[in-house]
């Protein structure tokens, strides 16, 4: 009973955030001091521009405009991209771009966690020893090199010097599984190195704290093997923090993906946003940001639900925070 009302409250909170984000972005677009129609469609005549203004509610006040946009958004109409030859729908672009970005981000997360977990466990187990120092220092430096720099350097070495991997584009599964992954390796590497450092550090700190807990001493005194203690008693509780942080880093990942997608010409959501800005397609920008905010809010909810199920204490802590 109480649980249900907690979720209702959480969901309504997130909904409020979502509404405010989208309203904020729509306000942002309304404060551009120039006629939006002229910017969005530089190559068009006055009748087309007038039709455009009327069609998206620019002739109304900021709130009327927002409500009309919201109504369209809810119905899946995210607006159009205007260019001299005609229009393309934003939703059409996003439907194509979204799976690419989601796959890119999923691979990045899986890879980052896959690497960070053993490294984190190892460096916690060997805290203060050489292995720990080497891992920590290396990752610290990696976390300071921006992902795009790593991407560009990978292109020089892996792409053009050795010709091991394609340097741009995206391959669908139908073009072959291996082909698909070949196109993903370098973008995933560029995006994930920073995350690996972040996750490893988090896991290490959390596990070192857990290792000091009484129940671990207890388990050791029972004579359990190190491996068993490490995974069963130490890693398990620490993993909640790790996965929470992983889900929350999705937002940052989308930002990083803009640059990476433009370097590798992946044409994901990040690239669509970049293209929207480059072409001053502000309606598209508005809808893209709204979609991203939607995902952010969704991941927040997933984190809440996930951590609530795994460990009720986390839920309470989050509810209090």
């Amino acid at each position: 009973m109480q649980k249900l009302s907690f979720w209702l409250q959480r969901v309504s909170q997130l909904l409020v955030v979502l509404l405010l984000v989208t309203f904020g972005v729509s306000l942002l677009i309304r404060i551009i001091p120039v006629d939006l129609a002229t910017i969005v469609m530089p190559v068009a005549d006055e009748t087309q521009r007038a039709a455009f203004r009327a069609s998206i509610g620019l002739d109304k006040g900021p709130i009327g405009y927002y409500l009309q946009w919201l109504g369209n958004f809810v119905h899946g109409d995210l607006g159009n991209i205007y260019y001299s030859g005609g229009t393309e729908t934003v939703s059409g672009h996003l439907i194509k771009a979204m799976p690419r970005s989601l796959l890119l981000m999923s691979y990045t997360q899986i890879f980052a966690l896959g690497v960070a977990i053993p490294l984190g466990v190892l460096s916690a187990y060997r805290a203060g020893r050489r292995a720990d120092r080497v891992i920590s220092n290396t990752l610290f430096i990696f976390s300071s090199i921006p992902g795009f720099a790593i991407g560009l350097i990978l292109i020089i070495i892996v792409g053009t010097k050795f010709e091991w991997l394609p340097t741009l584009g995206y391959a669908t599964f139908s073009e072959g599984i291996w082909e698909h992954f070949k196109h993903m390796i370098m973008p995933v590497l560029s995006l994930s190195l920073g995350l690996i450092a972040q996750y490893t550090r988090l896991l290490r700190a959390d596990m070192i704290a857990s290792l000091r807990e009484d129940y671990v001493t207890m388990a050791m005194s029972k004579g359990l093997s190190d491996r068993r203690i490490l995974w069963r008693h130490v890693f398990r509780p620490s993993s909640v923090t790790l996965f929470t942080s992983a889900a929350l880093s999705m937002g940052g990942l989308i930002g990083g993906a803009i640059v990476i997608e433009s370097i590798f010409a992946t044409y994901g959501v990040g690239f669509e946003i970049f293209a929207a800005i480059g072409g001053r397609q502000y309606i598209m920008l508005q809808s893209c940001v709204a979609v991203i905010a939607l995902f952010y809010v969704f991941f927040n909810l997933v984190v809440d639900i996930g951590s609530g199920f795994v460990d009720p204490r986390t839920r309470d802590r989050r509810a209090n925070a």
Binding site: I32, I156, G251, V289
Partner: protein, 286 residues
């Protein structure tokens, strides 16, 4: 509180590097170099350690040392200003929210959450592109105004991040009994904030601000790379954007700004980390 000699060797190096960067940022323009856009037409894309060009030149004929110094000035200026402003506004809002509580807190916390719901770079991109659009498209937007727009955008991005941290820290500290004690002594709220909250929250915020400087430097570079930074203003990001197209045959043009950027980010992160540990250590003693 923190003595240079007590720091570890790597941290000392970081402090020295940041000192050097600050020196270059402040006095770089007084050094006897040509402007960074000076074209050395007979030395296009020469490698580092060439006579006359210690870091080489890029394929535009710009000397990379001069470019890096100009880039230092721009990047450090943008980073420090944005973090300073963002920190100031963010902590003011965060402290107010946590101290006043109630409706003010609700409004400000929601505002922070709204800001955080959009990924940093997306928000910065959107803000820069909207704010930097000229009213009359045939009128030139001067560099200083584009720098301002960039700083304002990055500041807006930082406010909710730093604000939330300030709010959390204030919540912790204002729950301490010495705050109640101060109240019972008849201290005004404004004095309590000034004497008890701010001094206690500040160290943590400074540590975070150091980390934020790294974030801002990278964000600025990303924006430049996407072509919405200050392309003719000379920042590290601008250098990377210029070097990017030449990376196949003049990779040093890319490596040099990346090295400057990475060392600076490593340094600010390290200093921030040391500060934080120092504070945590003291907290543990309490």
């Amino acid at each position: 509180m923190l003595k240079f000699k007590e720091l570890s060797k790597p941290t000392q190096l970081c402090v020295l590097w940041i000192g050097l960067m600050l020196f270059l940022a402040v006095f770089g323009s007084f050094l006897p170099f040509e402007h960074w856009t000076f074209v050395y037409e007979d030395d296009l894309g020469v490698t580092p350690f060439s006579p006359g060009h210690i870091l080489g030149t890029d394929n535009n004929g710009y000397d990379l040392l001069t470019s890096a110094i100009a880039g230092t000035r721009m990047s450090i200026f943008i980073a420090i200003t944005a973090v300073g402003l963002g920190g100031l506004i963010g902590s003011a809002l965060g402290i107010t929210a946590a101290f006043v509580r109630g409706k003010v807190d609700l409004v400000l916390s929601t505002a922070f959450n709204v800001g955080l719901a959009i990924p940093n770079l997306v928000l910065a991109l959107a803000l820069v592109s909207v704010l930097a659009s000229n009213v009359d498209m045939t009128v030139v937007v001067p560099i200083w105004r584009r720098v301002m727009v960039l700083i304002i955008s990055l500041t807006i991005v930082l406010i909710p991040i730093l604000g939330r941290i300030a709010r959390g820290a204030t919540l912790t500290w204002s729950g301490r009994e010495f705050v109640t004690a101060a109240r019972s002594m008849g201290m005004r709220d404004s004095q309590i904030i000034k004497k008890h909250i701010v001094p206690n929250v500040l160290p943590a915020l400074i540590a975070v601000a150091f980390l934020a400087i790294g974030v801002v430097i990278i964000a600025e570079a990303s924006l430049s790379l996407l072509g919405v930074g200050i392309p003719d203003g000379g920042s590290w990001g601008g250098m990377i954007a210029r070097g990017r197209n030449d990376l196949e045959y003049s990779p040093h043009v890319l490596y040099i700004p990346v090295i400057f950027l990475a060392i600076t980010v490593v340094s600010t992160n390290q200093i921030g980390e040391v500060l934080r540990n120092k504070l945590d250590g003291r907290e543990a003693k309490v």
